[in-house]
Amino acid sequence: MSPILIRERSSAADDAVCCVTDVGYRYGDNVALSGIDLTVHRGEIVTLLGPNGSGKTTLFRLLCTLLPLQQGSIAIGGVDVASDPLSARRQIGIVFQSPSLDKKLTVDENIACQGALYGIRGEALKRRRNELLEQLELTDRRGDFCQTLSGGLKRRVELAKGMLHQPTLLLLDEPSTGLDPSARLKLWSSLRVMANSGTSILMTTHILEEADKADRVAILAGGKKIADASPSDLRSEMGDGMVTIVARDAEQAEQTLRNELGLDPLRIHNQLRLKSDKPAELVPRLAACLGNEAQSIAIGRPGLEDVFIAKTGEQFH
C-alpha cells in the first residue's frame, strides 16, 4: 500500500478508527461470520454483544490479526490489516479473555515484556509504566509476582499491558469474565477514562448489563450483525414498557390472552412477553384473565434482551 493511499483512506473515514467492511469467515463448511460491517469512532466504547457461538470471538481474532481475512476488509487507524498486519498491530492494544500474564514474573516485569514487544524501553517505558500503574491503582503491587494477584488485579495489569503503547484501538475479549461486581465497576471506570482521553474501545461480551454501559452496541447472532445503535436508541425502538409473564403452561396462557384479550404476546419457553406503552393498566387485566395460571407478572423497561428477542425470535443465551 502506498503512503498516498493511507492518507486518503484516513481522511475519508473522518474519525473512524476501525472500519470493518463486509467481513465473512468460514471454518470449513461452517459459516462463522457473514457480511459484517462495523465502524468504531475515536473515543467511542462499542460492545459486540452476542450469545456463545454468535461469531464474536472469530471477529475478535480477525481484528487482532490472529486469523487471516477470508472475505471483506478491515482497516485499523487507516491501515489495511490484510496488506500490512504489522503496522495494523501497532495500532491495537489487546486484552484477551484468558490471562496473558507470565505468572512467574512481577507486574513490572510483565509490563516491561510488553514494552519490548512494542519497542518501548528505557526512560519511555518507565514513564509510561508509572503513569499506567498510577491510573489503574496498581502502584503498590508492582513488585508482586502475578501469580499472587487476584482476578480483578490481574485484569487491570492486562489492561495496563494493552494500553502501554497508547493504541488507537483497544480490543477486549470478555473483559469482565471472572470478576466480581466491584472489580467490574472499577474496570469500567478505567475504560471510561481511557475512552475520554481519545482511545477507542471495542469489546466483546455476552453480558447484557455490560453492553448497556457502552456508547454503542452491535448485536451479533448466528454470524450476522442484527443491530447496531446506542443502547438507548435500541431500547426506544421497543416502546416504553415490557410486561413479562411467567406461566405454568405458557402455550395455554398464550391462547387465553389471544382469544380473550386480543393481545399478541411473544412466547419463549415458559415466558410470555408483551410490548405495552401503558403496562400498569395492562397488568390487572392480565392477572384477572390468567388467574393462577400466571406464576408471575412483571413490568420492566425494555432491555437489550428484548431487542435481541425481537430481532431473532429467540431468547438470549
Partner: protein
C-alpha cells in the same frame, strides 16, 4: 511522552513509511527476542526444581551407569565406562535442558502469555530466536557447569581443546532447542511432547554413540549391528558426540576403535544440523496460522 508517541502515533505518515516501519519492526524484533531470551533465564532460575533436575538427573545417570558398568566395558584407549559415558552425559544435559526450555512454549500458550507475543507487531522470528537463544544459553551454562565439576574431579584432562568444546556445546544446544521448537510449536499439550520425547528424542540420544560405541563396519559383524551402525551413522548427533569425545580426550586415538569421522565432517554436520533445525523451525512457525489460535 514525546519519545513514546512517535512509533505508535497512527495519523503520522512518514515520508517513507515502509522503510521506517521495517526498521522499527526489526529493532523491536530484536528487542522482543532479547526479552524472550531473558525471560527464559529468569523463569528458569525462579523454578528451583528445574535447575536441580537438569543437573542432578544426568549426574545420577552418569554415576550409576558409569560405576555399575565399569567392569564390563573397555573402550578405546582403555577407557572405563565412567569416562566413555562422559560426553553422552553432557549431551544428555543439553538435550534435557533444551527440551524443558522449549516445552515452555506449550505452557506459554496454555497460560496465555504467547497470545500477546503473537499479536505484537514483531512477526514470528523473535519468538524463535528468543526461545532458542534463551534455552540454549541455559543448556550451555548447565553443560559447562557439569563439565567444570568433572574437570575438577579429574575424570577428563584439562587441555586447550576445551575452547572448541565450548563452541561445539553451543552449536549442539542451538540445534537441540530448535528441534524442541519444531516438536513443541504445533502441540497443544505437554503430554504430546513427552510422547515425542520418549519415542524420538531419547532414541536419538541413545543412538548417537553416547551410551554404547557405534559398531564398526566389518565382515565379522552380523546383520543386526550392521543396521544399527547404519542408523547411528545417519544420526547427525553421532557426529557432534564423536567430536565432543575427541575434544574431551584429545590424546586417545578413537580411529582404531570403530566409527571415527574426521573433525571436519563432525563440525560440518554439527553446523548443518543447527542451521537445518533452526530453518525448519522458522518456516514452521511462520507458516502455521493454525497454531496461533491453539489456546
Amino acid at each position: 511522552m514525546s519519545t513514546l508517541t512517535s512509533p505508535v502515533e497512527p495519523t503520522v505518515v512518514p515520508v517513507a513509511p515502509r522503510v521506517v516501519a521495517a526498521r522499527a519492526t526489526l529493532e523491536s524484533g530484536w528487542g522482543a527476542a532479547w526479552m524472550l531470551a531473558r525471560r527464559e533465564w529468569v523463569r528458569f532460575f525462579r523454578q528451583r526444581n528445574r535447575v536441580t533436575a537438569a543437573i542432578a538427573q544426568p549426574l545420577l545417570f552418569w554415576l550409576l551407569f558409569g560405576t555399575g558398568l565399569r567392569g564390563s566395558f573397555t573402550g578405546a584407549g582403555q577407557q572405563n565406562f565412567l569416562e566413555f559415558f562422559l560426553p553422552g552425559t553432557i549431551g544428555l544435559i543439553v538435550l534435557f535442558t533444551a527440551i524443558f526450555a522449549t516445552i515452555s512454549v506449550i505452557e506459554d500458550r496454555r497460560e496465555g502469555f504467547m497470545q500477546s507475543v503473537l499479536v505484537a507487531p514483531v512477526g514470528r522470528w523473535p519468538v524463535l530466536f528468543g526461545k532458542v537463544m534463551g534455552g540454549s544459553a541455559i543448556a550451555w551454562v548447565q553443560a559447562v557447569f557439569f563439565l567444570s565439576l568433572v574437570l575438577m574431579f579429574g575424570t577428563a584432562p584439562l587441555t586447550w581443546s576445551l575452547l572448541p568444546l565450548l563452541l561445539l556445546l553451543a552449536l549442539v544446544a542451538v540445534a537441540m532447542c530448535s528441534l524442541g521448537m519444531i516438536v513443541a510449536w504445533p502441540m497443544d499439550s505437554t503430554q504430546g511432547f513427552h510422547a515425542i520425547m520418549m519415542l524420538g528424542l531419547m532414541p536419538m540420544w541413545l543412538l548417537s554413540g553416547s551410551f554404547f560405541p557405534i559398531p564398526a563396519y566389518d565382515s565379522e559383524v552380523g546383520i543386526g549391528p550392521m543396521i544399527l551402525g547404519t542408523i547411528m551413522r545417519a544420526n547427525p548427533l553421532s557426529y557432534s558426540m564423536a567430536e565432543m569425545r575427541h575434544l574431551l580426550y584429545p590424546s586417545i586415538d578413537f580411529a582404531s576403535a570403530g566409527f571415527a569421522p574426521s573433525h571436519l565432517t563432525c563440525w560440518l554436520v554439527s553446523i548443518a544440523a543447527a542451521i537445518f533445525t533452526t530453518t525448519v523451525a522458522w518456516r514452521l512457525m511462520r507458516g502455521s496460522r493454525r497454531a496461533d489460535i491453539v489456546v
